[in-house]
Assembly symmetry: C2
Homo-oligomer: 297 residues x 2
């Protein structure tokens, strides 16, 4: 079993072609649903009493929700606008609401999870949470600019406590104060994690382990509608695939990165969560075959 | 035999760690020397009477110089400065000098070249030159922002007349007025060329042919000293490798792109031309093996 801890949000996403208002989003939503194609996945998150029933139904169909807390108050809201090229997003508003003073608890039934994904949460919360599991085999975390800027030493402490860090290229540079991605990864591994996966958006990803570097190009897409959640979907699919194999050898992790790339490519083809919601395991496997053919010399 | 037509220059390159003054450079210098590891390569270029003997010796050891014209006047000079991250270069000065009114001529002995590389020259000159060869099997051109901005219709006409276009990502977007690289490539292929290779610097390259997309990650390097000439080295190694096989099947072109990536990676590891000058065929083959292992799942 896999546990995913992160945010569940109501997102307002302004793309050049469409504006989505208060749609289901959040790092844990994307990561959890992406993982659910591979393995039973439990969610630890909080929503407010305004959280729509239809969104609750979407989550409950795919995820174990024993760890989903419904609190009095408003759900976490995010509002952002993409530029015309869809390459940068400007945050217009973040309302933490019920997320502000949420103390996550690991339900008894999740404690046996061997795979744990800690999304871009407060690093101190991530550190505390990982200790609540009985026998973690593989833990992975993400982080974002906000925590790097405000709690860098906690981020480094968090990194020491996980097996893998998945992070985007700009944030890896910010965190390590290096320009070169190999140097970034070496520094992060030096803080005590075994694997570093640097996400490069349309350029794919780089996996680092000891002296191994595994570059994985993105699955090339002609039409991208909404990049929201691509990185979270990548991470969720990656750890979900590993959990389904119950194997954390390097060869499995390389393959998991490819699954991450492919599931991420589905996420950006449609608006909001629609790409993942329209997905099936067989569509994933078909694109994996396509991907393997694409990169073949 | 391969013919390379392009600029030979005296470059002033300002990197964060070192300033090089009036060193041997130019698109045809990098492309020609990169190609010379694979096949006999003839150069068509012009230099001034101030062109140092030592640079002439470097070229003559590696290239056929029947097409190198020495004119009264000063050699083409370029002066540019990289930012701290080595990711952008600002042009400080361009002195065309003898390049300004150079009319290139194809030496009799080059006319039988089956492989022709037209570097980022005036597109009208490239169009005229390709007609002077008797039986071209594979021609490839590059272009740059300057020609796209000033002679876009000539660039498109040039593209119609070659088998392949190699171009960097930003210039592909500028030329096609598209953001998505697949759309860029489709548009360029629509103008009448068979293959499009989009260079993405540290992110590698994308090869396009009909419905095939072949992404090739860059060979990851921890130390990059000077990116000058990387793209030209990529193109030269690519077409040099193809010429050495005398094969232009898609499978050969994919392999050629990998050679381009690998030779480009040597170019950026040292300052100016030093990376290529220190290179041997066996070092290339060793890194090709390393590369193939690196990308293997």
């Amino acid at each position: 079993m896999l546990t995913v801890f992160g945010s569940t949000a109501l997102d307002t996403i302004r793309t050049p072609s469409k504006v989505l208002k208060d749609v289901l989003g959040g790092a844990a939503t994307f990561a959890g649903i992406a993982a659910s194609f591979f393995v039973d996945t439990g969610l630890i998150a909080v929503v407010g009493s305004d959280f729509p029933k239809k969104y609750h139904n979407i989550l409950s169909k795919r995820l174990d929700l024993q760890g989903l807390v419904v609190k009095n108050g408003k759900t976490f809201r995010y509002d952002g606008r993409y530029d015309n090229t869809l390459s940068t997003r400007k945050t217009l508003k973040t309302e933490l609401n019920v997320l502000a003073d949420f103390t996550p608890v690991v339900p008894e039934s999740y404690r046996k999870s061997k795979y744990v994904y800690l999304a871009n949460n407060d690093p101190d919360q991530n550190v505390a949470m990982i200790r609540e599991f009985d026998r973690v085999k593989f833990s992975m975390c993400d982080t974002i600019e906000y925590w790097i800027s405000t709690k860098r030493s906690s981020v480094i402490k968090m990194i020491r406590g996980v097996n893998a860090v998945v992070i985007n290229d700009e944030e890896a540079k910010l965190l390590t104060k290096e320009y070169n991605l190999i140097r970034c990864a070496r520094k992060i591994m030096g803080w005590g994690t075994d694997y570093v996966i640097i996400k490069k958006g349309e350029h794919g990803s780089l996996l680092f382990f000891e002296d191994v570097i595994f570059p994985s190009p993105a699955f090339s897409l002609e039409t991208i509608l909404d990049p929201t959640g691509a990185g979270d979907s990548f991470a969720g699919a990656m750890i979900g695939y590993l959990a389904s194999l119950n194997n954390t050898a390097l060869s499995a992790i390389k393959k998991a990165v490819v699954y991450g790339n492919v599931v991420g490519s589905f996420a950006v083809e449609k608006y909001g969560l629609d790409g993942l919601l329209a997905l099936t395991k067989s569509k994933i496997e078909k694109r994996i075959k396509h991907y393997e053919k694409m990169i073949q010399l």
